[in-house]
Symmetry: C2
Subunit: 310 residues, 2 copies
């Protein structure tokens, strides 16, 4: 008899994918599914257990619960059209905390241009299962497959903040700005819409499982490799400072940890002008090649990039 | 300080509704929401704790988890277009049980004409948060408001099965057929589509919280009363038998318990022909009046119908 706890979570998700029928236009295996009717939809569970770092407020927990799913829509280039919030909360939770969670979800949904349209609530250990709905309007969805050798690899903004925040907490280092990125991640909705509208993007996904995992996932889905230059990876100053003070390698902070919400994408070099014209900020971090996996160039040495913890 | 456990669950749902914005065309307060883009969506949590009666299999638990949400779509007259399954399952659960749950969800989705399009899985105490998506095609959604005095009140099929099953278990009475209705509820998708297409229905909802609660909800949402005749309420023979053997009043079995998945609706008397033409089976159980609440006529006596437990 095999217990669920003995199965790797990624393996389990892969096993469960066998139940997902090719009913929709897109999925499984992308950030969100798209039904035959063109509805973009994604569902995510966050739990008190696992997604509630020290110092986070209930309102921020609610915001984060919604941001996870809205970020999946952003990665496809979808415009959010609604959010459903299913809550399983403990009976001994202060009632105000429950309203704070709902308020945080509501604020994130409003930030993303939509609102809460429905929900459910039951007793439970502290779980929010959120579902974000969206539409592509007339844009083509950005998928994880599609990168080809010669494309540039880019991210929409600085990474390493959440990892730096966690490392700082572990080592009692001051890190207010880093914590902000951990507690209140910003789904890159406008960026996703503009990137998909540009027509220049060959593949895209969000960084919620960390940059290392995302690079591996894009390579696998697109059947390509990537050459990433560590010095090109954009980061706030505090990431290097916290790396130094905590002794955690910069590389681990940039690649090894989830909770990031910038977008990772690849684009045809010849079409980059379209992304500049769309005024989406981005930073090129490397190139797509045919090596079959992502490699990092750091201090003149090349090494394989692994999946991070998330 | 108020703890969540001190707040009535219905009150909590009502409080949470204040966060729901009038973004969509329909909702909050109906079985499902409809976004401005016409997407019908509903989310429901079922838990090992509360929705796993003795004798139920994991496959049936999965079926039931999906049926709850598909039934909400049926109540609006929507055609299902996808299902998202978010699972929080214990590490010490037998792995096969997790696959059985997914298989049950998958079978129910297939029965409802669609499939699983996405999902998520985390560790947890045994919770399925499901989201069903649908479309009205060109039909008008059936809402809880809209009943007017003079309309007939009807249900699409026999009720009392799940309550009879639970009463039978409590009293060690044989009840295989009753248990089937408890373990494998059938969402009335085709009936809902046909009823909404008929144009004859003035209000509708499902019976998942029980007939008593549903009658009260329709009366409140429509601002009407209802006069229900107990002998008109359709039921399988075993309901009366189990009532007699268990000593639980038939009235309680018919009105007081959730887990039912027939549809309750009201319709213009002059337009009933359209429902007959649509070949939707239904049973008239009473009439809409202006009393402001539902009353039951039983043994020549009239009494107020309360909310059931669910």
């Amino acid at each position: 008899m095999t217990l669920l706890g003995e199965i790797d979570e990624r393996q389990l998700i892969e096993d469960f994918m066998s139940f997902i029928r090719p009913e929709g236009r897109v999925g499984p295996g992308d950030d969100a599914a798209i039904t035959m009717e063109g509805v973009v939809a994604t569902t995510d569970i966050v739990t008190f257990d696992r997604h509630f770092p020290a110092g986070m407020t209930y309102e921020q927990f609610g915001w984060h619960a919604a941001a996870v799913s809205f970020s999946d829509l952003a990665a496809m280039g979808a415009r959010p059209t609604g959010f459903l919030a299913a809550l399983a909360l403990p009976a001994d939770l202060e009632a105000q905390a429950a309203y704070d969670i709902m308020s945080g979800i509501d604020q994130c949904a409003e930030y993303c241009g939509t609102g809460i349209i429905g929900g459910d609530t039951k007793r439970g250990p502290g779980i929010v299962a959120g579902t974000a709905l969206g539409t592509m309007d007339d844009r083509k969805p950005m998928l994880r497959s599609g990168a080809v050798p010669g494309d540039v690899v880019a991210v929409t903004g600085p990474v390493g903040g959440p990892a730096a925040a966690l490392a700082a907490m572990d080592h009692s280092i001051e890190a207010d700005a880093a914590k902000e990125s951990l507690y209140t991640p910003i789904p890159r909705i406008d960026e996703g819409i503009a990137l998909s509208a540009s027509g220049a993007v060959s593949s895209c996904m969000d960084l919620s499982d960390g940059l290392g995992t995302a690079l591996n996932t894009l390579c696998k889905a697109s059947g390509v490799g990537m050459d990433i230059e560590i010095d090109f990876i954009p980061r706030e100053d505090y990431v290097d400072r916290i790396a130094e003070e905590s002794g955690v390698p910069v590389r681990d902070l940039l690649l090894g940890c989830g909770g990031e919400y910038e977008l990772l994408f690849t684009a045809d070099k010849g079409m980059l002008r379209k992304i500049y014209d769309a005024e989406v900020p981005f930073h090129i971090i490397g190139m797509v090649d045919d090596s079959g996996h992502p490699e990092l160039l750091a201090d003149g040495k090349r090494s394989r990039i692994g999946n991070g913890r998330y």
